[in-house]
């Protein structure tokens, strides 16, 4: 029964993270991501000092082993990384496209003028 709970929870988390990263950009989303990274780092330190902290936490959630919990967390982190990276690349591509288009149109205009007016 506890397994179902953790499964539902993880699925919800995956969906929410994906949806949030899908929909929102800007300062707030960036801040949330940075806080997430910070929490992740802090927790990593804690788990180095107290190695069995993951296992205890896993038991709280009803997961068998600590490693499993880490794996689930990693899946969520990786998913969000994939989505944000994709979106960031798309943003970059949009800007790059505008730049290239501007160059292309300007060049065509100069050439058109050199060849004497709009009709060539």
């Amino acid at each position: 029964m506890k397994l179902v709970v953790v499964q539902v929870l993880l699925i919800v988390v995956v969906a929410v993270v994906a949806a949030r990263l899908f929909r929102s950009r800007g300062a707030r989303a960036q801040a949330i991501r940075r806080l997430g990274v910070l929490a992740f780092a802090a927790f990593a330190v804690v788990s180095i000092i107290f190695p069995d902290v993951w296992t205890r936490l896993a038991h709280v959630f009803g997961v068998g082993r600590g490693t499993d919990l880490v794996l689930y967390g990693l899946v969520v982190a990786f998913l969000s990384f994939t989505v944000t990276t994709y979106l960031r690349f798309r943003d970059l591509e949009t800007r790059y496209t505008r730049l290239a288009r501007r160059i292309a149109l300007d060049e065509a205009e100069v050439r058109g003028r050199l060849e004497g007016g709009p009709e060539h």
């Binding site: 899908f22 989505v83 994709y86 979106l87 591509e93 290239a100 288009r101 149109l105 060539h120």
Partner: protein, 229 residues
């Protein structure tokens, strides 16, 4: 190579995205210009000399410094023809010779007669075009998805032949650089609440066009590009 019909084509600009098709582009431009003198070829960073060939055939050439994709090339073409005050209609036309100028004339007449702002070409309104079964399935799925997600009812969403009136061209903003631009175009036109219709077109599936045609895999890519944006 004159057509029997007498249609005023003075305000029409053909927009032809070009990518590595030097072998056929000269012919395509020459033939198109016999009916529609104003042609802009957007060379999408081709590695061959297609841009030069198109220029010699009498087209205006706008050249992307790097390869961006067909959707980006179309948008560049739209932005170019917007800068031409004489442009009343823009036609998106393929570089590989699969489109017919006669079909464009029919679309233009239809648009003028029925006061339409957009005319989409469709392969499925008559039986001149015979795509393979696999291709038919992909196209059907694509149009189903497009109709489902946009405010349009079309029979062929991924047809490269379209006629757009100036006021529509001015509002189009394609951001999907790659294959999903066809759906994006339909979506934007659907959201504009303009008068549109479809007109039957004949797509020539030559060996040349078939050798570089869209595969089934491409439809997966289109879907992902549409969902993740």
């Amino acid at each position: 190579m004159n057509t029997s019909r007498q249609v005023d084509t003075s305000g029409v600009w053909l927009v032809i995205p070009l990518y590595n098709e030097a072998a056929v582009i000269g012919d395509v431009v020459t033939r198109a210009r016999s009916v529609f003198p104003q042609v802009v070829v957007v060379d999408d960073g081709s590695a061959d000399d297609g841009a030069e060939v198109a220029r010699e055939a009498g087209a205006v050439v706008v050249r992307h410094p790097v390869n961006l994709g067909q959707g980006a090339a179309l948008q560049t073409g739209f932005e170019y023809v917007r800068s031409r005050p004489d442009m009343e209609w823009a036609v998106t036309f393929d570089a590989d010779g699969q489109h017919q100028t006669d079909d464009v004339l029919a679309m233009l007449e239809k648009a003028r007669a029925e006061d339409l702002q957009v005319v989409f070409g469709s392969r499925f309104l008559d039986d001149r075009t015979t795509p393979s079964l696999a291709k038919r399935l992909v196209l059907r799925a694509a149009v189903g998805y497009t109709n489902l997600t946009t405010h349009t009812r079309l029979t062929d969403a991924h047809n490269g032949l379209r006629l757009l009136r100036r006021d529509v061209v001015e509002r189009i903003d394609i951001t999907q650089n790659r294959m999903a631009h066809a759906s994006e175009l339909v979506e934007q036109i659907g959201a504009m609440d303009v008068r549109y219709a479809e007109s039957p077109v004949h797509i020539l599936y030559t060996d040349y066009s078939r050798s570089k045609g869209q595969s089934l895999w491409n439809s997966v890519n289109i879907l992902v590009e549409l969902i993740l944006r």
